[in-house]
């Protein structure tokens, strides 16, 4: 799964590798589906001594969505980085960096070793930063810088937590840790450290400040990746740790996360509504959508986890499509000011459709993937009698509708202004559209991913609840 390459003729190579990785994931998927959760000991040493790779339903799903999104981004990028005005000297670096990022994601979703996770996190963070900076403008550089610092800070917090855990329990393997774990001050402190480090990277509400700038100023395929996958990676680690390592009796903490998530939904939604530039709007929408993921924590029930995960999956697809659409519009009209969209949108029906369809999923309207996730969350909230969560989820959906239709509304207005326009490669439009459709279809094939989530029983602890 490790792919790295340097020479210039990368485009074809990149696509080949992309296809290869997808095939590998598919093979792994088949294996996991047939045989249950898989464990692979690198170097043949086995868990305590060596590093294990571990794939259960959770990681498999992440890998799959990863593969789909990445394939999409690869195809999209062949168009995006091909433009006349994108400096070739920069563009050639996109591919190797991108491959590193992808490799890091795959490695991250497969690892079951907390120190190994640290290394993958760094790999992920550095490649993401380099990709953001690829845009080259003053905005991009500044936000890349901030993003880098945030990343390093988060990693160090995480590493300190790892250090404490290791010295308490003498192992780095998640499974072994989960067997030995017992509450003690050191564990609590470690938990606090790792949580804050990871949440910083996941951009949960008070720590989201770095996200919009970084996501909005990056090149379009990079923004797509960051929003769709990179923030999810740290969330994935957090979820893993929460489910397997951290002491279960942490309901107060869960409540806190839920409240933060709720604030994130509101804040992100309101801010998104206030933005005048499309990419900023989408970036704030990410902040809001990330909030949903944390609503599952106060409920901590089987359905809640599944709902949050489902939102994660569909958001990954939908947000990728959205950023791609934004990239197309930006390329087409040369700007992404929402106010002046009239013509731009009308001449790009495919892109507009992609945006609209992705929007449906973000709003959580049926039959999209987002709807299923929201439904599960709602049901979990009602079952546990937490009405404030119900209200949050509902209001969040309305806010999302408001900011998405703010954009779509302009798709139908006529404009007499003429724009300087440029042709957008057709595959860029199609990739966006297909990913958006995938986000919708995710809702129609919901039972399938839901069943995958059960492999290896990552949520078995809560299955009773």
């Amino acid at each position: 799964m490790l792919s790295f390459l340097l020479p210039q003729r990368v485009k074809l190579l990149g696509l080949l590798i992309a296809a290869g990785v997808v095939a590998a994931v598919a093979a792994l998927g088949w294996q996991v589906a047939e045989l249950g959760a898989q464990r692979y000991a690198i170097g043949g040493w086995g868990a305590p001594l060596g590093i294990d790779l571990y794939a259960d339903g959770l990681s498999l799903l992440m890998l799959m969505v990863n593969a789909v999104v990445c394939l999409g981004v690869s195809v999209y990028s062949t168009g995006y980085f091909n433009r006349a005005y994108f400096r070739r000297s920069r563009a050639i670096y996109f591919w190797p960096l991108w491959m590193f990022l992808w490799a890091a994601l795959n490695a991250l979703f497969l690892s079951s070793d907390i120190f190994n996770l640290y290394v993958t996190l760094e790999l992920l963070g550095l490649s993401a930063v380099a990709l953001v900076a690829l845009a080259g403008g003053a905005d991009a550089l500044t936000s890349a810088m901030r993003y880098l610092l945030i990343n390093l800070l988060g990693s160090l917090f995480y590493l300190l937590g790892v250090a404490l855990l290791y010295h308490r329990f003498g192992s780095l393997d998640i499974t072994i840790l989960s067997q030995h774990i017992e509450p003690s001050p050191a564990v609590w402190v470690a938990m606090g450290l790792m949580t804050s480090g990871l949440l910083l990277k996941t951009a949960l509400f008070p720590m989201h400040f770095w996200l919009p700038a970084a996501h909005a100023s990056a090149p379009a395929p990079v923004s797509a990746l960051l929003s769709a996958l990179v923030v999810k990676a740290s969330f994935y680690i957090f979820l893993r740790l929460w489910l397997e390592i951290f002491p279960v009796d942490s309901s107060v903490f869960g409540e806190l996360l839920g409240v933060l998530g709720a604030i994130a939904i509101f804040w992100g939604g309101v801010q998104a509504l206030r933005q005048t530039r499309l990419k900023m709007l989408i970036a704030y929408s990410t902040v809001a959508q990330l909030g949903y993921l944390f609503l599952a924590f106060p409920m901590a029930s089987y359905f809640a986890w599944k709902g949050a995960l489902f939102i994660l999956l569909s958001h990954a697809l939908a947000k990728t499509a959205m950023f791609m659409a934004a990239g197309n519009i930006l390329h087409f009209g040369g700007h992404d000011r929402i106010q002046d969209f009239d013509h731009v949108v009308q001449y790009q029906p495919l892109t507009s459709a992609a945006f609209a369809l992705a929007g449906i999923s973000i709003m959580g309207l049926p039959p999209s993937g987002g709807f299923i996730g929201k439904w599960l969350l709602l049901e979990a909230a009602i079952n546990s009698g937490q009405w404030w969560l119900v209200i949050i989820i509902i209001m969040g959906g309305l806010l999302a509708a408001a900011y998405i239709f703010k954009v779509i509304g302009y798709a139908f207005t006529q404009s007499r202004k003429s724009h300087q326009t440029r042709r957008v490669p057709i595959r860029m439009e199609w990739t966006a559209l297909i990913l958006a459709i995938a986000a919708i279809l995710l809702g129609l094939i919901a039972p399938w991913p839901l069943a995958i989530m059960d492999i290896g029983l990552p949520f078995s602890g809560e299955a009773a609840g």
Binding site: E122, A133, G137, M145, L153, Y166, H167, P206
Partner: protein
């Protein structure tokens, strides 16, 4: 009080010091210094605790982890420094703009 705990606490101190400086400085070069010092603090804690097993050689695993960590840190620093230079040339100063919390 064992000397090892002494070093551990020094490690905690360095970590906090770095964090403080990271938050309070706006100069990018200093922020990078601060991150490095934070990292040293973490490494110190890792290794100091590794040596607390009495008698025999200390646990080699944290040592390996720290070596990995140092290499990662220098990579990150190199990247950060190059970025600082870029920011300077593009933006004109090597500070992060005051970020409003929104």
């Amino acid at each position: 009080m064992n000397t090892l705990y002494l070093y551990t606490i020094v490690g905690v101190g360095l970590f906090t010091l770095g964090l403080y400086a990271l938050l309070i400085h706006s100069d990018l070069l200093r922020k990078i210094l601060a991150i490095n010092i934070m990292g040293s603090g973490v490494f110190l804690i890792l290794v100091a605790l590794a040596a607390r097993t009495q008698g025999a050689v200390p646990d080699p695993v944290p040592h390996a982890m720290v070596i990995t960590g140092i290499v990662v840190a220098v990579s990150a620093t190199a990247l950060a420094l190059a970025l600082v230079i870029r920011v300077r040339t593009k933006v004109g100063h090597a500070n992060l703009p005051e970020q409003s919390l929104e």
